[in-house]
């Protein structure tokens, strides 16, 4: 018994090590005096200070966050609507649509990226638009959509369809029935989908690379630094992002624990 326990301890320890040591190293070197990623020459907050004045990085961060926000909100609305629609389809078309939904997830990103680029450049012959912010948003909505559908869909399947009918019987209009009864039930799925869309959008490099035009996301800006040298300001920025996300998660989890305790007392 103890042997198993020790084994699982080692397993967990190594998993956590592989996950977090690289992040810790990155944070550590954000305080490094020299630009080197090998030698630690002394403590400084200089990179954080410089980050505040680096317009290129800050603009890229702004573009990344705005695109992530717009695209994940749009994808959540569209995806939820799509999931509800798919749920009420007959079996065969439903299977067909779900398979189509899986394709962008399984497809290598580079294929999606190149095909979006081809689509935009072809469309440009007929419509007058420029590659840039708008094409980035469209591309991000496209690859975010399946994640929302795939996380809302199971929640809908768990839902007892007679609850919706009951709401109608009790005098709800279809719209009221959806927003008052169905919507709260599938809310966890929607939130998951939204958060996944948000993170995928912030993370994305390959698809953005092909569709960005004259806008520049953070990942592209960092990639462009690689001929010379990636500035430690990026370490500082990553540290800040990591800390913010960590804090958000902590607050959310604490809230969860508190509400769980309340629930138990009741």
């Amino acid at each position: 018994m103890t042997k198993v326990k020790n084994g699982s301890k080692i397993y967990i320890a190594s998993a956590l090590t592989f996950l977090y040591v690289p992040i810790l190293v990155l944070i550590f070197f954000s305080f490094n005096k020299s630009k080197s990623r090998n030698l630690f020459t002394g403590f400084t907050l200089n990179w954080y200070k410089q980050l505040l004045h680096n317009d290129l990085v800050l603009n890229a961060l702004g573009v990344t966050l705005v695109i992530a926000a717009i695209s994940s909100i749009c994808a959540t609305v569209l995806g939820t609507a799509a999931a509800v629609g798919i749920q009420s389809m007959k079996k065969l078309p439903r299977l067909a649509i779900m398979n189509v939904t899986y394709i962008p997830v399984i497809n290598p990103e580079i294929v999606t990226g190149v095909s979006m680029l081809l689509m935009f450049t072809t469309l440009r012959y007929f419509l007058n638009f420029e590659m840039g912010f708008s094409t980035l948003v469209i591309a991000h909505i496209t690859f975010n959509l399946p994640y929302v559908i795939l996380s809302v869909n199971p929640k809908l399947r768990q839902l007892d369809s007679s609850i919706y009918d009951a709401a109608l019987d009790l005098g709800c209009s279809p719209r009221q029935a959806f927003f008052k009864v169905v919507f709260p039930q599938i809310m966890p799925g929607i939130t998951t989908g939204f958060l996944m869309a948000l993170t995928y959008s912030i993370d994305d490099f390959v698809i953005s690379y092909f569709t960005s035009g004259t806008s520049q996301t953070l990942s592209i800006a960092i990639y462009a630094m690689t001929r010379r040298k990636v500035s430690p300001e990026i370490n500082a920025l990553s540290t800040l992002l990591f800390t913010v996300i960590l804090l958000i998660l902590l607050v959310m989890n604490l809230k969860d624990i508190k509400s769980n305790k309340k629930g138990e007392r009741k």
């Binding site: 680096n54 317009d55 004259t214 462009a224 690689t226």
Partner: protein
């Protein structure tokens, strides 16, 4: 929908631009540091122009470490705003321009051979030099070169040489030749360029051929040498050279002189030399892509970048060399760095600018390079497809067996 998008974009842009402008240090802007008069820089003010500048990453003085903030100063001086974006390689920039069209951009800063290709393919505008008075300040050495014979399309920004950087604590001799990159005693401690043009240039120079040769047999000979070298090479890298050399993980690497200065400031053991064979002199220059909507403003930007004060600030920040003698006078540089960034004429005379090659040569080089990079001792080409088919067969038999079992179970 499109209007609203544009509106949102405008508001965002305004927020992004408003923040830095309010923080600007007014003292830094005094007209006296510029050669061209302020009327010239002011004459496009208020026309609501946004220039799209497409440059290498980390290739401009951007205000970090209290340096000169080039783009911000230009915006203040002229009232023209700048959308500054960056690329990682000439080829990446070229591919993007080809697929998206050139008219989105106003200023691009490619290297010599890429400028030549863009000129040949009609991707750049002829410059109106009457709008670039500071062009006369550029040293004649860097004008009318191979890539832009009559200097109609480009203005040089920075130049530099490729040389050898090595760690004197890991190397006992004084290295002075590309031959060291083929020396068995440095096996596993050699770094090489991870792009075909630069890697072939080294191999060709070592064999005594021109880096711009279009002779198939010479290129194939160079490829064979690179293939032989592969077992000695620790890694094919670009920017990782910084970390590996600074951290003492590799003994010897080729790199650009300006970057070598940066590395040497981090690790005292590092030494930089120019090889006795030929080496590559590169010039990165400004071009205006075909169909640019703000050509006059773009020329103003080029003129601004040729201001000695601006060029000096950039050269000092980047570590590369300015082609403007008046700017050189303003640079504060110690003797050791001087010999690297501004080597004597003999070394410059022994260098070669990369020229755009014809299509067949480009294709040949790309193909040979792919062979070199993907070649491994003992692996045969048929292994991967066979393994793939085998895996597919195994997985499908397993699925079929399981299905059959299940069906049999369901029968009872």
């Amino acid at each position: 929908m499109k209007k609203r998008l544009i509106l949102i974009l405008c508001i965002l842009l305004m927020i992004l631009i408003a923040v830095p402008v309010s923080a600007i240090d007014i003292v830094a802007i005094s007209g006296s540091i510029y050669r061209t008069d302020l009327d010239y820089y002011n004459h496009l003010r208020g026309e609501d122009i946004t220039l799209v500048v497409y440059n290498w990453g980390e290739y401009i003085s951007d205000g970090g470490d209290d340096s000169f903030d080039t783009n911000k100063e230009f915006e203040e001086l002229t009232g023209i705003s700048i959308n500054y974006i960056t690329f990682a390689s000439n080829e990446q920039m070229y591919a993007k321009l080809k697929s998206e069209g050139t008219s989105l951009y106003d200023i691009i800063i490619p290297s010599d051979y890429m400028i030549a290709r863009m000129i040949r393919e009609g991707m750049v505008e002829a410059l109106d030099f009457s709008n670039i008075p500071n062009y006369t300040l550029v040293d004649d050495l860097y004008k009318n070169l191979e890539h832009d014979r009559n200097n109609e399309f480009s203005v040089p920004y920075m130049w530099g040489l490729v040389g050898i950087i090595y760690n004197s604590s890991m190397v006992d001799e004084d290295i002075d030749s590309w031959d060291s990159f083929w020396d068995e005693q440095y096996k596993g401690n050699i770094l090489m360029f991870d792009n075909p043009r630069d890697a072939f240039a080294i191999s060709l120079a070592r064999l005594g051929y021109s880096m711009n040769t279009e002779d198939e047999s010479q290129i194939e000979e160079a490829a064979e040498e690179l293939m032989k070298q592969k077992s000695l090479v620790q890694a094919y890298v670009m920017d990782e050279i910084f970390n590996k050399m600074e951290g003492g993980e590799a003994a010897i690497a080729p790199y650009y002189a300006g970057d070598a200065i940066t590395m040497m400031s981090e690790n005292e053991d590092l030494v930089f030399v120019f090889p006795k064979e030929k080496t590559n002199l590169f010039i990165d220059g400004f071009v205006i892509p075909k169909g640019s909507k703000n050509k006059e403003a773009a020329e103003m930007y080029i003129n601004f970048m040729c201001e000695p004060a601006v060029s000096a600030a950039n050269a000092e920040y980047i570590g590369y060399s300015t082609p403007i003698p008046d700017a050189f006078e303003l640079i504060d540089i110690d003797d050791e760095d001087l010999a690297i960034a501004y080597p004597n004429e003999k070394i410059i005379a022994n260098s070669e600018v990369l020229r755009e090659l014809n299509n067949e040569t480009n294709l040949l080089m790309d193909r040979l390079w792919t062979d070199i990079r993907s070649y491994k001792d003992g692996t045969k080409g048929w292994i991967i497809p066979t393994a793939f088919i085998l895996a597919a067969v195994i997985v499908s038999t397993l699925v079929i067996i399981r299905r059959a079992k299940k069906r049999r179970r369901d029968l009872y």
